[in-house]
Symmetry: C2
Subunit: 406 residues, 2 copies
């Protein structure tokens, strides 16, 4: 008999019919001889409605009360899911984050789980009940309701799986798993059977938004193996786990793309300590999220510094950088949107050489110009003209042997 | 500086605008130098929507999960109310029933408050915050969410007022207070300034549905004086309190009416021990709520027993009583709807004689026939033809000198 944690996101529980469907899945899992814990999100749309309601009484609701308000969304789903199981003749009990023993830091709207005391969960499991737990929420040690921020229900699932030492943790979502590339862009993309935490993290931060990075980081830290799969079919999904020896034989696990990027170049930044710091401190103060940063070696006492940001952040910059450039004695500031990022990710890069060369060659053959390059240990990212991104993704996908066999 | 508890019902917090209005009232009360605790209900309509949602996943939701679901209604309001106060520059903090220290029995959907540990309330009050508490809910000693049933938010307010030894407990509702009679029936009805717990209880059980009896009983038991008043204006309301010497000088405090009644008579019930018991046990088993019961002295070894019920309960009876009557050797069972109950209530009856005579005389003068009579220490109830009830109420109201001076 296995102990299984299943997490169902907002789309999977978006209507009463879908909640009944989730109830059937949970009962089926239990009837195969397993103990079952389910983590549920708010029904899709509910969180937005609550936020809208809050805005009607306050243009800047406090985070403490926002947490109290939003926590009702998951509480509603958990009660309905338990009722649905009971309706089908099963045994179920619902628990809020606090009741499930999820203790968090006191930072409202983005609390961190500090520990889990799963006494209630274990008590109800040993009674034979399916235990339904509200995702996304917890309680501070002095009893205030907190929420965990974006992707918080995934985090709940992984933390609970760790705390009760579950045999499996399944993250049910509206996609079949993690793909070698977005199938809408690259029709030959295929589902990845197994991926390492590090690869998943790089994919997530490169535009493949199946899960938030923090949940993957948490799973990595506590060694929780989990599976991302669809709640709308019974296909196996993608297993996310510690890397194993065999995994390194694949050089590139997947190709991520991120559109809607913009590039900013500050020319002739004096090659003196503190100049780059001044630049990026000014951006941080303006809450601009910088992605790739490239600076080449200085040849003539000054150097160009380029970085990319989400296109929507461009307006936050305004003439900020012109002022900073003047202060530090740099040259012109050039901004350009209409660019995109392509990343190839794989832990095999650590042991295989020539990966970058292979990528550049593939793009060159397609006549695609690379504007910037940035690498990490298991990722190579290139900045391209946005118009070329789909073609570039196909070329890279083929070059690294990722295409599904026809 | 006084410590004031205010309770706002579902209509008073029915929209974001009304919640802002409640926030203004709470701030105004605080700015007069008071410490303020507010108990809030779910926004009107929310509880019904949640019940509808539950019915979509289960035709018979369990009571435990229904409590979990319904408790979100008050939690939503409390967060919005706290946000509204904060938006206006005030300091506020919301607490669920559990957080406010309301410990209840384990009976779901109609739990009883067993004790209140107001540590959190007092802590936040001493921080200068307005404390907003979810009405209608609590937590069992082993951590399950419970709700208190109909009128539960009033009960929360009175229990908290008692626990923190508040100087005033104000129940804000959509009426101005308790009237000598329903002003829609008797236009000369006037607001009662002060009423005793016992009178309020008799009024409540006689059709004046300003508050549920159990909240009044709770207030009586713990000696909590409270005021029923409107959240839509600033008029003083009705004070409900221990009876005082002066109160007895008014013979009749008010006139209550209850329409939609039905009368059932079982003829010739044998005058033997156990026959009436068989009759009413059968009704209780069928969940029929019986109101007035009248049995006259036996003359010939048998007697007629009559009782009234809500008209809607008639169909529950069906042919049940015919069978019981056969068993116990009674005669015919007669059912009649289209009747109503009129009650005159007042603690002055204890010390004044002739009250019944005065009522009967007033009705007789109007040509109104009395079908049944039932009395308690401070109430005289009569059963009449429903068509005559408005006229009867006016006659009684005038006879006991309750009419407002023009």
């Amino acid at each position: 008999m296995a102990l299984i944690v299943q997490k169902y996101g907002g789309t999977s529980v978006g209507t009463p019919e879908r909640i009944l469907n989730v109830a059937r899945r949970l009962l089926a899992t239990q009837s195969e001889g397993n103990s079952v814990v389910a983590i549920v999100s708010a029904m899709s749309g509910v969180t937005d409605s609550l936020i809208k309601l809050a805005k009607e009484v306050s243009n800047q609701p406090t985070e403490r009360e926002m947490d109290v308000l939003l926590a009702t969304g998951e509480q509603t789903t958990m009660a309905l899911a338990a009722m649905a199981i009971q309706h089908m003749g099963g045994k179920a009990v619902s628990l809020t984050g606090a009741q499930a023993g999820i203790v968090t830091s006191g930072v409202h709207t983005k609390a961190k789980i500090s520990n889990v005391t799963p006494d209630q969960i274990q008590k109800h499991l040993s009674d034979g009940a399916i235990v339904i737990i509200a995702g996304f929420q917890g309680e501070t040690s002095d009893g205030a309701i907190t929420t965990l921020g974006r992707g918080g229900s995934d985090l709940t699932a992984i933390a609970i799986a760790s705390a009760i030492d579950a045999d499996a943790c399944q993250i049910f979502t509206d996609v079949d798993g993690v793909y070698t590339c977005d199938p809408r862009i690259v029709p030959t993309a295929k589902k990845i059977e197994a991926i390492s935490y590090d690869e998943m993290l790089e994919m997530a931060s490169s535009g493949s938004k199946v899960m938030q990075s923090r949940s993957v980081e948490f799973a990595k830290k506590f060694g929780v193996e989990f599976e991302v799969r669809s709640s709308f079919n019974n296909n196996p999904g993608t297993i996310v786990k510690e890397e194993s020896a065999g995994m390194e034989q694949v050089v590139v696990r997947g190709v991520s793309i991120e559109r809607n990027q913009a590039k900013v170049t500050v020319a002739q930044v004096p090659d003196k300590p503190g100049c780059a710091a001044r630049l990026f401190t000014a951006l941080a103060d303006a809450h601009v999220m910088v992605d790739v940063i490239v600076q080449n070696v200085s040849a003539s006492g000054s150097t160009d510094i380029s970085f990319t940001i989400n296109r929507d952040e461009l307006e936050k910059i305004g003439d900020l950088l012109d002022r900073v450039a003047l202060e530090i004695g740099a040259g012109e500031v050039r901004k350009q949107d209409g660019i995109a990022k392509l990343s190839v990710v794989g832990i095999g890069m650590r042991t295989h050489s020539g990966v970058a060369a292979k990528l550049f060659e593939a793009l060159a053959k397609g006549g695609i110009n690379i504007q910037m390059i940035s690498t990490s240990e298991i990722k190579i990212a290139v900045i391209l003209d946005e118009e070329k991104i789909a073609e570039a993704a196909k070329l890279a996908h083929t070059a690294f042997g990722l295409d599904a066999s026809a």
